[in-house]
Every structure is written in C-alpha cells, then in structure tokens.
C-alpha cells in the first residue's frame, strides 16, 4: 500500500513538473502574472510530492518489504539499520529518487528565496527546472520504477554490495547529487537569461549563491568519495581516474570556471556569453556523467545498473537538454552586448586565463574518458586510457594554473602591472625556489615531480597570503590597524583565501603521499616484525571473527606507542564477496595503512604502507568547500540580491 502511494506521488509529481515546465513559459511570453506565479507554487508542490515518494521508499527499506523488487534486490533483513536507510540510494532506481529529491529541493528553494528576482525571469528559470524535473521523473516512471512489486514476495533480500556497506554511502552520494543538481540552477538561470534576452551584472549576482552552494557540495562529495575509496578499497589509492570519478570531476572543473567567470560578469559586465555557455556546459557534463554511469558504456566500479534502454533514454534527454540550450545560445548569445574592455594584464585577464586552463582541463578529462568509446565505434580498436595518460596531460595544465593562481589575485581590475606584482612576490618566489633547491639537495634523485609540486604550492600559498596582507595594508599600517582591516574584510575575500589555501594543502598532500610514500609487501608469521617509516609493526596473531552479516580473518599488529592495528579480510554471504578492511593509524606526519590477505598455514600476506600527509589531501578539499560556504555567508550576497536595477534600460540588447 505504501509503495503504491509512493508511485502515485511520483506520477502526480510528474504531472506537476510538466505544468511547471510549460505554463509559466507561455505566461512569461504574454506577461500574464497569474501564469508566472504558478511556477513558484508548482515548484514547492513538486518538492513535497517527491519528498513523500522518497519517504515511502525509505519506509519500504526500513521495514524490509521484499515484495518491492528494488528492496529485494538491494537489501537484507540482517543488514544494520544505517545501511538499510543508505541502501535506498545505493542502487539505480533509488539514486534516481534521491536525484529528483535534490532537484526539486533546489527548485523549491528558488521559489521560496527567489522573491527578489524579476517575475518573468523567475518564472522562466523555474519552468526550465520543471522541464528537467519532468525528464527525470519520466525516466523513473517509464524505465526504472523504484516501487515495482514482486509476486510472490520473497522471504529474504539479496543484500547490498559489501563495498557499499559503509558510512561513506551515507554522505558521498547525497553531497555529490546536491552538487550535480545544484548546477541545474545555474543552467536554468542561463537559459532564462537567454530567453529574456539580456545578461547583466545582477544576473551574476543571482546565480552566484546557487553556484557556490552547488560547488561546495560537489567539492565535499568528491573529497568524501576519494577518502572513502582510500580507506575502503584497500589499496591505499585516493584517485583512480575511473570514468565515474572523471564524470564528477568534469562538472566540478566547469563549475569552478563558472564561479570565476561569473565574478567578471558581476564586477565588469563582460565575458557574458562565455559565462552563459559555461553554465550550460557545466550542467550538460553533470547529465553526461549520469549517462555514463547509468548506461554501462564504460566499465567502472560505480556502474551498478547497466541497461541499454536506460542509457538510450538518458542520451536522448541529454541531447534534448544540452542541444536545446546550445541552440538557444547560438541564436540569442550574439545579441548580448560585449561589455567593458580590459588590458592583457589585469584581474580580468587573469580570470580569463583561469577559465582557459580549467576549460582545457575539463576537455582533457572528457577526451580521455570518451576516446576509447569513440575509437571503438569508429575503428573497432580497443584501447585503455588510464592514469598514466591523465597524469601526463592534467598535471602540466594544473601546474600552470597553480602558478597563475599565486599571481592573479594580486592584479588590479582593468589594467595591471605584472612587473610590480612579481616584485611584490619576489620573496615568495625566492622562498619557493630555495625550497625546491633544498628539497633536491636532501632528496637527491628523489621524486622530482613532488618537489616541484611542493614549491608550486608554496609559491601559490605565498601569493594568496600576500594578497591578504595587501588588503590589510600590513606593510604601511601597524599590526593593530591591519588586524582591524582584516576583520572588516568581506566574507567573500576570506572565502576566496580559504579555498585557494585549501588547494595548496591538497597539492602538498598529494605530492607527499605519492612521492614519499613507503610500501612493504610481505608474508608474516605471528611474532614477525616489519619496520616502516620508523614504526615497528609486530604481528601478534590472527583470529576469525563474526560480524553481523560477514565472517572475517582479523590480524592484530602491535605498534609501540600506538593502539593495536587490526586489519580484516571480510567474507560476506549476501551477496558473496570478499573485501579488505584496512587498519589505518592517522599520525601527525602521515598514515600507517595495513591490509591483510587470507591467513593460511600460519602465515598471512601483509601490505603495509606509509602515506605521508595523506590527511592533507582531504583536509584541503574540505577547506575549499568551507571557503565556498564562508563566501556564501557574505552579507553582500544576501543584501545585494534585492538591489536589482529595475530602472536599467534594455540597452544591453542590440536588435
């Protein structure tokens, strides 16, 4: 009964979404106030309906109602309650419901908090949201019904993939989806602006908080996913250039570019068509990611539901959404007036360089992800594009980006003086070069790439802090006055500083963990000792333990000065699968990471790693997301939104 109610709510939501996607568009064209106002109510109603359906699905999981096919395939009565609930989105149908929930949540938020937007703009943006929502709801209803019943109802479920039975599943997909779907607001705003026929600095102001929120969520989602892979997959890696990881990285890169170019639109009223294009591309890449994951055209650890019919639907949807938006763009964008001019050396030019590099990075990841598919389709040859390719292409681009990041924020708007900025950064540059030399001297023929990365991160962090010092006039005023100026800085400035420093922290973490890590592979008997990065690990013994839905071989290592480390090899029954449960000791200078294989004949296979500064990788990611949130809390964003320039003449349209 509850499941049928859920399905009924989804059908209702689909109807509401279709209304929301059509009526306000016509009303906005005819300036019909009532029709435009419908968009807001429909958005809120659609959210309530989808939330109701989501609650019904959660209910089916919590009560282990195996007459619902989705619950039968993905749950088990013995599963701990946390994983029963997170299992709701650990599968194809359920993750779509979560996706729709986030999408309608954002739509409702625009309806509730977007009161300051011009009525026709708001109606059009919400209508685009409604169209996206109706596409996803149709996808669900016609190809992947989460509430399909089984008759007769099985007595027991098939269980959830053990790799997903982890608290990581509770936070990784929701944040990721919040990010993916949040970008849809930037998309809707871009399409609405094209329909309106004008883009003004106020547009960038409206779109900025939503983009920031989406970007921060995406950052948390990717960071969390990377951390999850690190501790769960059991080989100590944190980024695999897996197609699905790339699918989340591409919208992140595009959204990062969008955040920066929107600043130029807001401050200088230029780069308008490029920013609109970026907003369209960022969401298209989100959809492309969904297509790649759901269609099974790429093999990946994430692809839990492969079905050609679904792939075809998402592909058509992608073509309709991106194709439609890009056609509209081609038609309307030439009418957008070019805005203010700027010199080749200026803050704007720096942000353009940022966009050029980020766009190239996005395209590179896209190229590497899709090239095997394209080549297979054209010539039938099968090739692999793996980490060696991405490292060889992405790292140089990222290197230039990092160096430019150290300089860019110091440049003034309109016209800058590169020599002056470089003179101001000379101490930072000398310090970075010295660090590189000292590193080379100490490490000898060590990992050169990591040393360069350290120096680049140092230079960038130095640049970011110099910019902060410059804003505080630390040089000319006393420390007390400078402190007062720092405290009076807008939150947006603090957010930027935090996010940029976070990137430096992540780079240091990655460079340290990949360049200076140690690894031991060996077979040990109880009493054997292995020495790693100054720690002595002694195998005390192995034992067999039973968990709620698995049996594990557990090894116990004693490390002087640390709690005992107990890695496990788990064997799950439903579905039958072996997983490694790593034991990780977080130390100030790095992580000790131990994995064991099956115990046989008194010996056990051991992989022990020393991962220096590993926590910095994710710490930096969280700093970036925190920077986004700090920036989001800037008062200017909240107060600025209502200050729309209603009296501005429509002179920006040349027709």
């Amino acid at each position: 009964m509850i499941a049928e109610l859920g399905q009924f709510l989804l059908v209702l939501a689909f109807g509401v979404a279709v209304l929301q996607g059509t009526v306000p568009l016509v009303a906005a064209m005819r300036r019909h106030a009532g029709g435009m106002a419908l968009a807001g109510s429909a958005a809120v109603l659609q959210f309530l309906l989808v939330a109701g359906a989501f609650a019904c699905l959660v209910h089916a999981y919590v009560t282990s109602d195996f007459s619902v096919a989705n619950v039968y395939h993905n749950s088990h009565s013995l599963k701990p309650m946390l994983y029963k609930i997170t299992g709701v989105w650990g599968n194809h149908e359920g993750s779509l419901v979560l996706w729709a929930l986030m999408l309608t949540l954002f739509g409702a938020a625009v309806a509730l908090f977007g009161g300051a937007l011009p009525a026709s703009f708001r109606a059009r943006a919400l209508a685009v949201q409604g169209l996206i929502g109706s596409g996803f709801l149709a996808f669900m209803l016609f190809t992947s019904n989460p509430f399909a019943r089984l008759d007769p109802a099985p007595l027991e479920g098939q269980g959830l993939n053990p790799l997903l039975q982890d608290p990581g599943l509770a936070f990784h997909p929701p944040f990721l989806y919040l990010g993916y779907v949040g970008v849809s607001i930037a998309f809707s705003f871009a399409v609405a602006a094209l329909l309106e026929g004008r883009v003004e600095p106020s547009w960038a102001r409206w779109v900025r908080p939503w983009t920031l929120a989406a970007w921060s969520s995406l950052t948390v989602g990717i960071t969390g996913g990377s951390w999850w892979a690190y501790y769960e997959l059991g080989w100590g890696g944190f980024w695999f250039w897996d197609p699905v990881e790339n699918a989340s990285l591409m919208p992140w890169l595009a959204t990062t570019a969008l955040l920066h170019s929107a600043i130029v639109v807001e401050k200088r009223d230029t780069l308008k068509s490029w920013t609109i294009l970026l907003a369209i591309l960022a969401f298209s890449l989100s959809l492309l990611g969904t297509f790649l994951v759901r269609s099974g055209v790429l093999t990946s650890v994430h692809a839990f539901a492969n079905d050609p019919a679904r792939g075809l639907f998402v592909l058509c949807f992608l073509a309709a959404v991106s194709g439609g938006a890009l056609t509209l763009f081609a038609w309307r964008a030439p009418r957008l007036a070019p805005g203010g001019l700027f010199a080749p050396v200026s803050r704007e030019a720096g942000l353009v360089l940022n966009n050029l590099l980020l766009a190239t990075l996005t395209a590179t990841v896209l190229l590497g992800t899709l090239y095997p598919l394209g080549l297979d389709a054209v010539t039938g040859d099968k090739i692999s594009v793996g980490p060696p390719f991405f490292n060889a292409t992405v790292l140089p681009l990222a290197g230039i980006l990092v160096l430019a990041l150290g300089i860019g924020p110091l440049l003034p708007w309109k016209r800058g003086d590169l020599a002056g900025v470089l003179a101001r950064l000379k101490f930072v540059a000398v310090a970075a070069a010295l660090a590189l030399l000292v590193g080379l001297w100490l490490a000898g023929t060590g990992p050169l790439l990591s040393l360069i990365a350290f120096a680049a991160a140092l230079f960038m962090a130095g640049g970011v802090l110099s910019e902060l010092a410059q804003r505080a006039r630390l040089g000319s005023l006393g420390p007390a006055a400078a402190w007062a100026r720092l405290r009076a800085l807008p939150r947006g400035a603090w957010g930027m500083t935090f996010a940029h420093l976070g990137l430096a922290v992540t780079i240091v973490g990655i460079a340290a963990a990949t360049g200076f890590g140690e690894e031991r592979l060996l077979q040990m008997k109880p009493g054997d000792r292995v020495s790693l990065a100054g720690y002595q690990l002694t195998l005390e013994g192995t034992s067999r333990v039973a968990g709620p839905n698995y049996v594990a071989d557990r090894a116990r290592f004693l490390v002087p000065g640390l709690p005992a480390m107990e890695p496990e090899l788990r064997r799950y029954d439903a579905p039958p699968m072996e997983t490694n449960e790593a034991a990780i000791a977080n130390r100030p200078l790095g992580d000790l990471y131990v994995v064991v294989g099956a115990a046989a004949g008194g010996t056990v296979a051991v992989r022990a790693y020393w991962k220096p500064l590993a926590l910095w990788i994710w710490g930096g990611g969280l700093m970036m997301a925190l920077g986004g949130l700090i920036s989001l809390s800037d008062r200017r964003l909240r107060i600025g939104a209502p200050l729309r320039r209603a009296a501005l003449p429509p002179a920006t349209v040349q027709s």
């Binding site: 695999f240 093999t299 692809a303 190229l367 692999s384 793996g386 592979l521 077979q523 294989g597 296979a605």
Partner: protein, 152 residues
C-alpha cells in the same frame, strides 16, 4: 634457453598466489622497481579499471609474476610491453601508445589550449569601439571655460 629460464622463474614464484596481491619481491631492488613500475601501467583485464599492481584478482597475480620473470630474464620494458600487447592487444596498456590512432588523444589537450589562446589573442586584437570624435572648437571652448581656475 630463454624460454626454459622463464619457465623456471615462473615455477619458482608459482607457489604463492594470495588474495591481496602480495608476491615475493625480486632480490634485486632495481629490477623489482622496474617490475612494479610496469605493473602500474598494465590493466587488469578481468577487473574494472584497476592496474595489475592494485588488483587482487588471480589473473593480475599471474601477470605480475610474468612481468617479474621477463624482467629477470633481461627483457627491456619495451619488449615486455610488446609481449603483453601481442597477447592481449592495446587494451592491456593503461597508457595508450602514441600512434596515428591516438594522435588526437595525445595532442588534443595542447591543441585545445593553443586554440583557446589564439581565440583570446584575436579577441584582444579586435578593435574596440571606435574612439570618440575629437571635440569641436565650440566644445573645446566650453571645456576650457569649465576648467578655468579663475572662473568664479
């Protein structure tokens, strides 16, 4: 003779196939480092996007031992790669070879960056709005009057 040596090495290492891919390292650290670097570039054919260095699958273990055996037998990295490609096709290499078919892949990023740079450069050189017409004598006189410090 080479083949015999290979078989012998394979037999020697054959005893221990373990779940997490722990195999005894080669006695020579330089050779072991080479073998591990190679293993990171070879795809585990039965896994999903893992190199054989990271995988716990049996096949990955077999391939790792195979690579070690070839390293011990004195084969060059290129020869070992060629051997694997002959057996499994280009699919087995995580780093796609640089050949006509992958030209676009390898040069794509640089091409895009260059293209973007050219577009920006041309945009920068594009003449801006025409400069304002020079002031008429009338306007100049008014300007002078406005700027005149002696004006009350």
């Amino acid at each position: 003779m080479r083949r015999l040596a290979l078989t012998a090495v394979l037999l020697l290492w054959g005893g221990t196939v373990l779940a997490i891919g722990v195999d005894p390292p080669l006695p020579d650290p330089a050779q072991e480092a080479r073998a591990q670097a190679l293993a990171r570039e070879v795809r585990c054919l039965v896994c999903q996007n893992q190199s054989i260095a990271d995988s716990s699958a049996d096949l990955a273990g077999d391939l790792r031992r195979l690579i070690r055996a070839h390293v011990v037998a004195g084969d060059s990295d290129a020869a070992i790669r060629a051997f694997l490609v002959a057996r499994y096709g280009d699919w087995v290499l995580l780093k796609p070879p640089f050949e006509p078919e992958t030209l676009l892949l390898w040069l794509g990023p640089a091409l895009l960056l260059g293209l973007g740079g050219v577009v920006l450069w041309r945009r920068q050189r594009r003449p801006g709005p025409p400069p304002a017409a020079p002031l008429t004598p009338d306007e100049q006189a008014r300007l002078a009057a406005l700027l005149d410090p002696d004006r009350p």
